[in-house]
């Protein structure tokens, strides 16, 4: 049945006799169908996620959740949706109407669009077809991932679109003409932007290991292929992508754009070859670990998951919609289905984050091979099997997110952003360094001593030298002593600039020096000496700050502050800045 659908649809697409407009219309219809196939189940899934969350929260609270609608509450989401639809749509006066009206849409739509790039299953399909160029019907192999479009920049697409949600939230905060909403919107924007960076850095490690940004490739890179079968698998992959004797120039290859038709001769061959190699350069030079990436990248997974939870404004990071403090935050002024869109958007974001985590770290749709199932190929049965595994993994991660909500209280907004910038970000950087090195060393934990140190140094460490030391100064000293920087801004900024100039001159001069001399070992040694000097300069510059912090003394007043009378009058006591007095205990104290 499934193969029949595929065959017929491919036949329509492959037929050269359809006029151009029908061909383009076919593209459009296929796209819309795929979108509908993805978006409608998504909305239903999101609705049932609300029920699942209420159930889990209830069980954590030692009570039952919704259990009145249809047995265990299965009709509840539908009733909630109907309730929201029939509610009065209250439009407050003085709202910035276009901004206010579009905000829920801008917050909801990118989330749905991200699902177009997430593979939920995959199959190798054998079909006996007679393609143009074949003399007789031949068994062809096609690979059919359950994905709307196998973009080769799938991950980038997802990250870019998921960043649009913050625009929607900010629009809601601004357009509502309400201080509480503005609060919530600004907090949310700050939070989401802060947590984007650890997300991207974690997914960077994934792209590094998989060798590609395409989500299908990322999942396939996590597939375990038994040692003897690698060649067969690669061959099958190569065949399925291109098909044997497939002519790229023919209109109708659903996976290809037909820009080849304008090319002639050598150009055509070269372009076809490039495409061929893109599809076939499946194994990158280092070789993926062939395990779910959570095993080598567990730190990245944890960072990604925590940052992902923060991206979706979920507990423990749900201060922007903190019900206790700012009464629902940015969606205070929305009622009815507009609020419903925000609500669904938040839950859909949860599923999206889980889906991305599953795709990138947990092996996507892959599952253990049951006896009787082929290691390499899949067919209709295995298609459904893989789909089931995808759903199971996503449900698991989503349940973990709900579990977070049941357990953790809220972080304050400055603690949120502190956590992102001061904790997650440095760990992400260090993680990338470690992963990069391990990947370069082919994940040979034991044979580290055998790697080519110079090659490692040249390829990995050198680009990071100057930025690393800069980052060292900025990241680890400026936030801590920012007050000091502010007070001494007139004194410190010149020193800072001198140090920068010194660094640049030193590195430039050194590069010239090494180009002239060219001895590698000597260079490494001398560069390390240079690091030591730079570190010493940094520490020397902040020496008195460190001393002050250690001895617990307060910051001294600048002379202009003293002249203006902005002097701190209260001396610090044991409880901080306020004064304390000992209460004399007399003998009348009845203890």
């Amino acid at each position: 049945m499934f193969t029949w659908i595929l065959r017929e649809s491919y036949k329509i697409g492959l037929s050269p006799t359809i006029p151009a407009w029908a061909h383009d219309l076919w593209f459009v219809i296929m796209g819309l169908l795929i979108f509908a196939v993805i978006a409608l189940p998504l909305i239903i899934a999101v609705a049932y996620l609300t029920l699942w969350e209420r159930k889990i929260l209830a069980w954590a609270h030692y009570r039952l959740g919704p259990n009145r609608a249809w047995g265990y509450g299965f009709l509840q989401p539908l009733l909630d949706a109907v309730k929201l639809l029939i509610k009065e749509d209250i439009v407050p006066v003085c709202v910035d109407w276009p901004v206010w009206f579009l905000a829920p849409i801008v917050a909801f739509t990118p989330m749905v669009a991200c699902f177009l790039a997430i593979p939920m299953s995959n199959a190798f399909v054998n079909m006996k077809l007679q393609l143009p160029g074949d003399t007789e019907p031949v068994m062809h192999v096609f690979q059919v991932p359950m994905i709307a479009g196998n973009l080769n920049i799938g991950l980038l697409f997802i990250l870019a679109l998921s960043s649009l949600v913050v625009v929607g939230i900010f629009m809601a905060g601004w357009g509502s003409n309400n201080k509480y909403s503005l609060f919530g919107g600004m907090r949310s924007a700050a939070q989401i932007i802060s947590y984007e960076v650890p997300v991207i850095l974690s997914l960077l490690c994934v792209a590094l290991l998989a060798g590609s940004l395409s989500t299908v490739d990322i999942v396939k890179a996590q597939k375990f292929i038994p040692p003897g079968e690698m060649k067969t698998y690669l061959e099958l992959d190569r065949l399925s992508m291109s098909g044997s004797g497939f002519d790229y120039t023919k209109r109708g290859d659903y996976l290809n754009l037909d820009y080849f038709k304008n090319l002639e001769g050598d150009e055509k061959i070269i372009a076809a070859g490039k495409l061929y190699h893109r599809y076939n350069d499946y194994v990158n030079t280092q070789g993926s670990p062939r395990l779910p990436f959570i095993i080598p990248l567990f730190i990245a997974f944890i960072i990604y998951f925590i940052a992902g939870v923060a991206e979706t404004n979920r507990s423990p990071f749900d201060l922007p919609e903190g019900e206790s403090e700012i009464v629902a935050g940015f969606h205070t002024e929305y009622s009815g289905i507009k609020f419903g869109l925000f609500f669904l958007g938040e839950y859909g974001n949860m599923i999206l984050i889980s889906a991305i985590a599953v795709t990138c770290f947990l092996g996507g749709y892959l599952g253990p091979a049951i006896p009787g199932m082929s290691w390499i190929t899949a067919s209709t049965g295995e298609y459904i099997y893989y789909f089931f595994w995808f759903i199971l993994k996503v449900c698991l991660l989503v349940s973990v997110m709900v579990w977070f909500r049941a357990t953790f209280p809220r972080l304050r907004v400055d603690q949120l952003t502190d956590f992102a910038w001061k904790a997650l970000l440095p760990i992400s950087f260090i993680n990338i360094l470690i992963v990069g090195y391990m990947h370069f060393a082919d994940w040979n934990f034991i044979s580290i001593a055998e790697t080519n140190w110079i090659l490692w140094y040249d390829n990995i460490v050198r680009p990071f030298e100057y930025p690393f030391l800069r980052a060292l100064m900025l990241l680890f000293f400026v936030p801590i002593v920012s007050d000091y920087v502010y007070r001494y801004r007139k004194v410190i900024m010149p020193r800072f600039i001198y140090a920068e100039i010194a660094f640049i001159l030193a590195f430039m001069g050194y590069d010239i020096f090494t180009l002239w001399f060219g001895s590698k070992t000597f260079e490494i040694v001398l560069r390390c000496l240079l690091y030591a000097v730079a570190l010493f300069l940094t520490i020397w510059m902040w020496r008195d700050v460190i001393l002050a912090m250690r001895s617990g003394q307060q910051f001294p007043n600048l002379p202009e502050e003293e002249a203006m009378g902005m002097v701190e009058k209260v001396k610090p006591g044991p409880l901080g800045v306020q004064e304390t007095i000992e209460i004399p205990t007399t003998s009348y104290a009845r203890e």
Binding site: L57, S324, E325, I326, V413, D483, G573, G576, E591
Partner: protein, 380 residues
Amino acid sequence: MAFTLTRIQRAEADTIEDSEEYILNMGPQHPSTHGVLRLLLRCDGEIVKEIKPYFGYLHRCYSKVVEDLTYVQGVPYSDRWDYLASMTNNHVNCLAIEKLAGIEVPRRAEYIRVIIAELQRIASHLFWFGTQVNDLGGYTPFMWAVRHREKIVDIFEELSGARLTYHYMRPGGVMRDINSKAGKWIEEFIKELPQHMRNYDDLIMGNEILLVRMDGVGVLTSDLAIKYGISGPVLRATGVKWDLRKNIPYSVYPEFDFEIPTRQKGCSLSRWEIRIEEIRQSARIVAQALMTLPAGDYKAKVPRAIKPPKGDVYAAIEAPRGELGMYMVSDGSTKPWRVHCRSSCLINLTALNEITRGAPIADLIAILGSIDIVLGETDR
């Protein structure tokens, strides 16, 4: 960068980074102000510069109403001050009437009063605990705490017939004796309490997020606390060992062995720890009282219309939220000339401006929760 300054620096800095101040109204309808409290905040960004509280949204003219009722008729009105700790309100009212009229309460009634008052303290602290964690975002401990409080409410329902405003303590004693069913329930509750407290400790006291939200937040020093007339756990958190049950004893508290927890730091976490510790100490008192409950009358013989001799009295007890006092003026007739309730919550709120200046708004919620106010008592 503003968050690296100290709290007082933030409060007194004119503007931080060229920003403007604005006025935010945390109006009477708000999920976290624990009732109808209106706070006018003057904020700079996220930081609160000044708070102006507005009361009166729950004012029911208690003092004027009670001038027209007899002493006994006025006792149910005291239930409605701090409706989450209704027994202790009745206790102070009855104490004032007994002191005015010179009524002697039998020993058994005093013991029952102590048991009930301490159980009420446990219930009130459990509810405070639940609502404070709920404000901070933890929904689960709120449900658990309220569920455990239900057991106490069931005990009180068995004794008095009501679930919130009990009117159980009467001038001269209590309304009804503790029967065997209620006694058994009390025993069971006290036996199960350590297990539940351990659960709360595991969930809360080790939770990094809560510690970070509460530690060092809303620091109050002892001299300021005494100047502001603070009482109750807030005062004890600043280091002053002042508890009316020990320092100005009333009822039969001197006969029991219990400790007064104090902390030195004065922040929200200290108040939190003190209240949790007080639950344990209250359980201790209840256990002792149950074991040594004497036989006798549960109520003294009191005339139907009490006519105390002329004079005033100021009676105060250690309610769960602080010092709850009553100033009663008698002119020799059956109705009081003047009754005034010294509300712990209202007086504790005097220091709110001082300890919240310079803190972010999210901290204001944590501080307000840790001061533990009930608007019924603030507004009377």
